[in-house]
Amino acid sequence: MLKKISINKISELAAALMDKGLLLAPVKEISGYNFVEIKDPKQVDLDFHNTIASPKAAFFPHKEDFIKYETGKPIDTASVVALNLPPAFLFGARPCDVKSFEIMDIHFNASGIVDPFWKQRRETAVIFGYAFDLEKPAQPEEFYQTLGIGAADPEGSDVFMVKKGGDLLLNSVTPKGEKILAELKVLNEGKAADKKYYEEYIKKGKEYKTRSMCLEPGAITKKLEDLFYNTDFWTRVSSACISCGVCTFVCPTCYCFDICDDTLFAQGIRRRVWDACMFTDFTLEASGHNPRTHVYQRLRQKINHKYSYHVRKYGVISCVGCGRCTKHCPVNIDIYSLIEDAMKA
């Protein structure tokens, strides 16, 4: 099912979605675009390349409350925070970011114990993926082509959107997407010419150039295993790193979290919050022992986790080439160059 709407009328579409549930869409903030919960339909702005933070927070919020309690009161008076989620619409996620949800699904939803929060948030959400603008060049930090991800891949989205001049074409990818498109009266029917344009756009997206190298998961896994004890290499590539952790926070596939108790006077909440393997105390044990005291050990952990451990454990590289870590690194560590270096080392 192909529908369309004039981009000028995007706020009408936003208002229609807000009538049905929670809308998360790109909004221009002071330092750039981010996905935020829309309060006013006019906030939605599709004139962006990509957002500063990845949209992972839609399913894995920075803070997730587990339990509320009063300190000093009996344990059985604590209450579990119920997760009664309204339907949610994630509007405008780029193909590489949509791919990240599939990678996270394997970890949170499809292996071992299921994470109930991730699962429920995924189930209640409809994803409106949005192709990159193929008329404009990729940003220098991007390399999703390396990971086999096109600039207009609809897979993983429920509805996939493509810009055609002043119009936005919306095509259903899943039954969930088809259902919502049928319900949105604000949309117009797509024409045969729109359908042709959409299909060609998807094809062209495969050839969209980002930085690209030949990266076979088995080969990089093996290479990193061989390189593990090459302290000279890891010291060199991490020499500028200040362990700030920004790479992990903006990353769409970083999922490390802390579980902590936050108390204010007698009110307490046990919750999980994002954490980062780049922090010095991430692996600090109560005995004082810390297996990763050096910055090179922590960067080695991060790179290995994405390009080696994740491949060994789940069969896929845990990176989608969005380039956010590179773009936001305050000391210009470029993960793409690092992987290139590793392959040559």
């Binding site: 587990f66 339990i67 309690y69 300190t71 009996p74 344990i75 059985d76 604590a78 579990v80 970890h107 949170f108 292996s111 071992g112 114990i113 994470d115 109930p116 295993e225 593990f228 004890y229 999922y255 490390c256 979290f257 802390d258 579980i259 902590c260 108790d261 108390t263 307490g268 046990r270 999980r272 954490d275 393997c277 991430f282 692996t283 600090l284 044990e285 109560a286 005995s287 004082g288 297996p291 990763r292 050990q297 952990q301 290995n304 986790h305 080696s308 451990y309 994740h310 060994r312 454990k313």
Partner: protein
């Protein structure tokens, strides 16, 4: 774990606290489930652990020290941490009295591989505080319903001095039994000490357990492990027949939070029990 939300602890009451050592910083806590369903869901094997939970303080992953053959309760031996970094949960736990109620999440992790151990001679080597899940296994194997499933049982357990030995009553009881060869040693005895003196590696060399159809389970401080392993290699134990239990900082305990990995394995869900053969496959990152 049957609980639908794996991050929510269930309530237990501390019904007994045993002050284990002269330094008073290691206590055994006996916990009884407040709800029968929770007790039924907490089916564990020796070698597993659980997250002990105090609201307002946090959670701490602790090995289960009791044996599943002891119904009605579950025991944890906990050291009060805080000498180097704040041991917030263990300190709070040590400050509690009998009758206090806390939370528990588990059982978590794999276990000592019971099926693999069956019909084999078992050599248990423990040092100091790292004896808790080994005690669980020993009591499991010594239970009348289980004893015949295992071959000879040899236990070599050492501490720095007699006052630091854990489970003193049980150690004495094992010495009286003829279906377990229990060798207790201390680095240095005091005036009252009638037993053996000597470091664990040296005692292992002296006892020289046969590697034939045998599995060694070794837990202790790094320095003990370092000098004990060569003894067992020299005796002829293969890496597949030497098992240990790892520790890493943990949070979720279910393989989700990304904290306790050694290479591509998570200590919480793939471990904590590994053979030396398995550890050889992983990077030295622990």
């Amino acid at each position: 774990m049957i609980n639908k939300n794996p991050y929510i602890p269930v309530p237990v009451e501390i019904t007994k606290i045993i002050d284990e050592v002269d330094t008073h910083d290691i206590k055994t806590f006996r916990l009884v489930f407040l709800n029968k369903d929770d007790e039924a869901n907490f089916k564990y094997l020796p070698g597993q652990f659980a997250e002990l939970s105090i609201y307002g303080k946090g959670e701490s992953p602790i090995g289960i020290a009791s044996s599943p053959t002891e119904p009605g309760y579950v025991e944890f031996t906990v050291m009060r941490m805080g000498a180097v970094v704040p041991g917030t949960v263990t300190s709070a736990l040590h400050d509690l009295d009998e009758g206090a109620k806390i939370g528990i999440r588990g059982p978590l992790g794999n276990s000592w591989p019971i099926e693999f151990l069956e019909k084999k001679n078992i050599v248990v080597v423990g040092g100091g505080f790292a004896f808790t899940t080994l005690r669980s296994l020993i009591n499991y194997m010594l239970h009348k319903d289980n004893r015949k499933r295992f071959g000879d049982i040899t236990v070599i357990y050492g501490a720095r001095n007699p006052g630091l030995l854990l489970y003193k009553d049980e150690l004495a009881a094992w010495e009286k039994r003829d279906d377990i060869n229990s060798i207790i040693t201390v680095d240095k005895g005091d005036e009252a000490w009638q037993g053996r003196e000597g470091f664990v590696p040296a005692v292992c060399k002296e006892v020289a357990p046969s590697p034939k159809n045998s599995v060694a389970l070794i837990c202790g401080p790094p320095v003990m492990i370092k000098f004990t392993l060569p003894v067992f290699f020299e005796l002829g134990f293969s890496k597949e027949n030497i098992l240990t239990s790892l520790e890493m900082r943990m949070k979720c305990g279910i393989g989700k939070c990304g904290r306790c990995n050694v290479g591509y394995k998570y200590v919480c869900s793939d471990g904590p029990v590994f053979s030396l053969g398995e550890l050889d496959e992983l990077p030295r990152d622990f």
